[in-house]
C-alpha cells in the first residue's frame, strides 16, 4: 500500500463542534482527495487538491473546508459538525491511479 495515513481513525463528537481530519502521504503526490462514503451513495468527492494551496470543490463540499500548506498533508475541517456529516471519510492520492488511506469513522451526536 502507498504511504497514506489518516488521523484520527475514529472520532465521536457533538453537533456544533469543529472537527479536523488529517491525511498524510509520503509519496510526494501532487493530487490529494477527500471523499465521504455512506451506504447507498458510494464515494462522493468533497474537495481535492492539485498542489500546495491549490484546492477545488467536489460534489458535496458544503459544510467542509480544506487546507494544503505542504505537499504531504491535506486537512479536512468541519467547521460546525452536524449529524448528517456522520460518515466514513477516505483520503486518496494520485489522479490516474488512486491510492486510498484506511479511512476515518466519524460519528456526530
Amino acid at each position: 500500500d502507498a504511504g497514506i495515513t489518516q488521523s484520527p481513525r475514529h472520532k465521536v463528537t457533538e453537533t456544533g463542534t469543529p472537527v479536523t481530519l488529517r491525511c498524510h502521504q509520503t509519496e510526494n503526490h501532487r493530487y490529494m482527495y477527500w471523499y465521504r462514503q455512506d451506504p447507498g451513495h458510494g464515494l462522493r468527492l468533497i474537495h481535492y487538491s492539485y498542489g500546495v494551496k491549490d484546492t477545488d470543490k467536489g460534489e458535496v463540499s458544503d459544510g467542509y473546508s480544506v487546507s494544503r500548506s505542504k505537499t504531504e498533508d491535506f486537512l479536512l475541517t468541519l467547521e460546525s459538525a452536524t449529524s448528517s456529516q456522520t460518515s466514513v471519510y477516505f483520503c486518496a492520492i494520485g489522479s490516474e491511479t488512486q491510492y486510498f488511506g484506511p479511512g476515518t469513522r466519524l460519528l456526530v451526536l
Partner: protein, 110 residues
C-alpha cells in the same frame, strides 16, 4: 459534471457462478477505472481503461470498455468467496476531478 450509473446495486451469487457489473454514462468518457473495496476496508485500484473497445484480463476478471466509450463492464468468472466486496467504477477529468459510481456489492454463498 459527468456522471456514471452502476448496475446492479447488489448481486448475490453461489460460489462458482459468474458475476458482471456495468457502468454507464450518457457522455463519452476519456477513461474508466475500476476499484474493489472489501468489507471494512478501503477501495483498491484494479485497472484503468482508456481505448475504445479495450478488453483487459486479470486472472478471472475481465474488464471491457465500450466501443463508444460510454459504458464499461467488469466480469468475474467462477466467483470465489474472496471476490466478495463492492466494485466501483470511476472516471477522472483532465483537471483531476473524480466521479465514482455508487458501486455493486457482491456477496458469494459458499
Amino acid at each position: 459534471g459527468q456522471q456514471v450509473m452502476q448496475i446492479p446495486q447488489y448481486q448475490h451469487v453461489q460460489e462458482g457462478e459468474d458475476f458482471t457489473t456495468y457502468c454507464n454514462s450518457s457522455t463519452t468518457l476519456s477513461n474508466i477505472q475500476w476499484y474493489k473495496q472489501r468489507p471494512g476496508g478501503h477501495p483498491v485500484f484494479l485497472i484503468q481503461l482508456v481505448k475504445s473497445g479495450e478488453v483487459k484480463k486479470q486472472k478471472r476478471l475481465t474488464f471491457q470498455f465500450g466501443e463508444a466509450k460510454k459504458n464499461s463492464s467488469l466480469h468475474i468468472t467462477a466467483t470465489q468467496t474472496t471476490d466478495v466486496g463492492t466494485y466501483f467504477c470511476a472516471l477522472f477529468t483532465s483537471a483531476g476531478k473524480s466521479t465514482f459510481g455508487d458501486g455493486t456489492t457482491l456477496t458469494v454463498k459458499p
